[in-house]
C-alpha cells in the first residue's frame, strides 16, 4: 500500500507546475553561482604571487591593526555594518557622531584624521578599483598601525565607545574582537593549504562544499512551496473527505506524501551535482590528483538532504495545522534569518538551517569543524522525523473529527 501511494504521489508531483519551477530555478541558481573559473583558483601557489588569500589571526597587534583599518574605512564611507538582531543593518552617523569616532581614531593612531584619510587614499590608489580581484587585495592588505604606546586594554575600551555610538551588533564589540581578524596568508601557509586540498579533499571535496553552500541557500526556500502545494491539493480538489475515509492509515498517507516530496526534491540536487562535478574531476586529474568521484553525492546527502527534509516537514506541519499559506511567511523568514545571522560565511554551524562554507578550500579549517556540521545536520535529520510524527498526529485528529483544528473553537460558540 505504501509503495503504491508513494508512486502515485511521485506522479502527482511530476504533474505539478510548482515542481518544474523548482527544478528550473534550482539549476539556474546553481549554474549562475558555480562557474568553470573556479578551477583557476585551485592552482599550486607560487613564491612570487601578489597574494595567497586570508587566514584568521588572534594576535593582539593584528586585531588592533585590522579593526582600526575597518573602522577607518567605515568612517570614511560613513556606513557601519551592524547586526543588531542578527540581520545586516547599515548605520549612517550624523556630523557630531562622526566627529566623536574620528577623535577615537586619532587617539588610537596618534595621527590626525586628515593624515589617516591621506594614507587610506594613497593605499587604495595603488590598486585598480575597477578589478574585483585587485579591490579584494587592496582591502586585505590595508591596515592601520596603532600608536606605539597603545595598550590592548586601552584599545578595547576605545572600541566600546565606538560600539555605543554606532549601536548594537557592530564589528567593534568584544565578541567580534575575540573572534580574530583576517590577515594575508603567507606562502608557506598557502602551500600547506594546497596540500590539504589535494590530499584530504582530492579537489572535488572542496568544490562539493561550495556547491552545498550555494544549494543550501536556495533549498531553504524552494521546498516550502512543494510542501504547501501538496498539503493544499486535496482541499483545492475537494477530495479531503474522500482521502479521510481511505483505508490507509494516516502514517501511510502522510509518510508516502512526505517521502515522495523529499525524493523528488532531492532528485534535481543529485542530478545537478553529478553534472557539475565533471569539470572538477578533470581538473583534479590535470593536477595529478585522483578525484573523489562520490564527493558531490556524499556532501549532498549529508549537507542538503537533512535541510530538504526539515523544510518539507515544517511546511507539512504548518500547512496541515492551519490549512493556509502562512508557512511561506514563517519559513521564508526562517531561511532569510538563518542566512543573515551566520556569524561568518565559513563554518560556525551551530544550529543554523543554512550551513555556510563560502570558500573554495580552507580544507584544514573545515576538517576541524566537521564534527560541528555532523551534529547540526544530525539534529535537523532527527527533527524532521519528530515534526513529521506531529503532522501525522494532527492529520489523524482531523481525519477522526472531520474538522480543521482551529475551526472547532468557533464552532463551540454556537
Amino acid at each position: 500500500m505504501f509503495g503504491t501511494l508513494f508512486v502515485k504521489e511521485c506522479k502527482q508531483i511530476l504533474k505539478s507546475m510548482v515542481y518544474y519551477i523548482y527544478v528550473v530555478v534550482f539549476i539556474l541558481f546553481l549554474s549562475s553561482q558555480l562557474s568553470g573559473e573556479l578551477s583557476e583558483s585551485m592552482e599550486q601557489p607560487k613564491p612570487d604571487q601578489e597574494g595567497y588569500g586570508i587566514v584568521n589571526s588572534h594576535e593582539e597587534s593584528a586585531v588592533m591593526e585590522k579593526t582600526l583599518a575597518g573602522l577607518v574605512l567605515e568612517t570614511y564611507h560613513n556606513s557601519y555594518a551592524t547586526y543588531p538582531m542578527g540581520f545586516y543593518k547599515a548605520v549612517t552617523l550624523n556630523e557630531a557622531e562622526l566627529e566623536k569616532i574620528e577623535s577615537i581614531i586619532e587617539s588610537c593612531t596618534g595621527k590626525s584624521w586628515d593624515q589617516v584619510v591621506g594614507e587610506l587614499e594613497d593605499h587604495f590608489a595603488k590598486y585598480n578599483s575597477g578589478s574585483m580581484e585587485e579591490a579584494i587585495w587592496a582591502q586585505t592588505a590595508y591596515s592601520v598601525l596603532p600608536k606605539e604606546e597603545l595598550e590592548y586594554q586601552e584599545f578595547c575600551e576605545a572600541m566600546e565607545k565606538v560600539c555605543k555610538i554606532v549601536g548594537a551588533g557592530s564589528a567593534y564589540k568584544k565578541e567580534s574582537l575575540e573572534a580574530g581578524v583576517g590577515v594575508p596568508m603567507t606562502y608557506e601557509q598557502a602551500v600547506e593549504e594546497f596540500e590539504a586540498l589535494c590530499n584530504k579533499d582530492r579537489i572535488t571535496g572542496a568544490t562539493a562544499r561550495l556547491f552545498c553552500d550555494y544549494a543550501g541557500i536556495i533549498l531553504s526556500v524552494l521546498p516550502i512551496f512543494l510542501g504547501i502545494t501538496r498539503c493544499l491539493r486535496d482541499k483545492r480538489a475537494q477530495a479531503v473527505q474522500v482521502v479521510y475515509v481511505h483505508k490507509s492509515s494516516s502514517l501511510q498517507i502522510i509518510g508516502s506524501r512526505y517521502l515522495a516530496n523529499v525524493c523528488m526534491a532531492f532528485l534535481p540536487v543529485v542530478f545537478t551535482s553529478f553534472i557539475m562535478q565533471m569539470p572538477y574531476q578533470y581538473h583534479a586529474k590535470t593536477l595529478g590528483v585522483t578525484p573523489d568521484i562520490f564527493a558531490f553525492l556524499k556532501y549532498s546527502c549529508i549537507w542538503l538532504l537533512p535541510e530538504i527534509m526539515v523544510v518539507l516537514a515544517v511546511s507539512f506541519l504548518i500547512t496541515e495545522s492551519t490549512e493556509n499559506v502562512i508557512s511561506i511567511f514563517v519559513q521564508v523568514f526562517w531561511a532569510v534569518a538563518s542566512v543573515f545571522t551566520s556569524v561568518s560565511l565559513e563554518g560556525n554551524f551551530g544550529f543554523q538551517l543554512v550551513a555556510r562554507w563560502n570558500a573554495l578550500g580552507d580544507t584544514n579549517a573545515f576538517w576541524m569543524q566537521r564534527q560541528e556540521l555532523f551534529q547540526n545536520r544530525g539534529f535537523y535529520f532527527i527533527l524532521s522525523f519528530a515534526v513529521l510524527g506531529l503532522t501525522v498526529g494532527i492529520y489523524e485528529k482531523k481525519r477522526r473529527e472531520g474538522e480543521s483544528l482551529y475551526g472547532k473553537i468557533f464552532k463551540g460558540r454556537k
Binding site: V25, S32, A90, T92, I218, I228, T229, V332
Partner: protein, 207 residues
C-alpha cells in the same frame, strides 16, 4: 456606492485581514533590520528596495485567494456585481495600503535626518513595489494558485539580487544605482499585469 463599500469591507475583514496584519507586523519590525536615520539618497533607496519591496508581495498576491475555491468562485459569478468590479475594489484597497506604507516610511526617514528627493523616492518605490506585487497578482490570476504567485514573485526578487542588470528596465534595485527612469515603464507594466489579470479572471467566469 454602498454595495462597493460593503464588498470592500467584507473582503478586508474576512479574507484580507491576516495578510494586512502580516504586512503591518513586517513594517513594525523594520527598526530591527534597517536604519531610517541619516541616510543619503542611495541608502534610502536601498531600504525601500530591499526591505519594503516585500510589502508588494504581501499585499497584492492574495487578492484572488477567495475564488481559488470553485464553489466560492461560482457563487461570486452568480451575483449581480461583475467580478471585475470586485477585483478592482480589492486592487484599490491594496494600492491605498501601499501608498500609506510608502508615505509613512518616507516621512519617518525625513524625520530621521535622511537627505533624498522625497518625490523621486516615493514614485520610484511605488512603481517598483507595485510592479513586484503585480507579478504575484498576475501569476495567481493565471494559475488560480496563490502559492505559485508567492513563489514566482519571491524568486523574481531573489534573482534580482544577482541579476538585476540583466533584466533591463524591469530589473529591481535601480534606485540603489541612482536610476529613476524605470518608474513610468514599471507603472505601465504593473497596470497592464493588473488589467490582464482581471480580464483573465473575468473570461474564466464565462468559460
Amino acid at each position: 456606492m454602498e454595495r462597493y463599500l460593503k464588498a470592500g469591507s467584507s473582503f478586508l475583514c474576512r479574507q484580507y485581514a491576516p495578510h494586512v496584519l502580516v504586512m503591518f507586523l513586517f513594517c513594525c519590525m523594520s527598526g530591527f533590520f534597517v536604519s531610517l536615520r541619516n541616510l543619503d539618497a542611495l541608502q534610502a533607496a536601498k531600504v525601500m528596495e530591499m526591505y519594503f519591496a516585500f510589502t508588494g508581495i504581501l499585499l497584492f498576491t492574495p487578492l484572488f485567494m477567495p475564488e481559488q475555491d470553485m464553489d466560492i468562485f461560482l457563487l461570486k459569478r452568480s451575483k449581480a456585481m461583475p467580478l471585475w468590479r470586485l477585483y478592482l475594489i480589492r486592487l484599490l484597497e491594496a494600492v491605498t495600503l501601499l501608498t500609506l506604507v510608502i508615505t509613512v516610511f518616507i516621512l519617518l526617514m525625513k524625520q530621521g535626518g535622511c537627505v533624498f528627493s522625497a518625490r523621486n523616492l516615493w514614485l520610484g518605490a511605488f512603481a517598483e513595489i507595485l510592479f513586484l506585487g503585480s507579478i504575484g497578482y498576475f501569476v495567481s490570476a493565471v494559475t488560480n494558485q496563490v502559492v505559485l504567485g508567492y513563489m514566482v514573485s519571491i524568486i523574481y526578487f531573489i534573482s534580482n539580487i544577482g541579476a538585476s542588470k540583466h533584466l533591463g528596465i524591469f530589473g529591481l534595485f535601480q534606485m540603489m544605482r541612482g536610476e529613476y527612469g524605470f518608474a513610468p515603464v514599471m507603472l505601465l507594466a504593473a497596470a497592464i499585469l493588473a488589467v490582464v489579470g482581471i480580464v483573465i479572471r473575468e473570461k474564466r467566469a464565462w468559460s
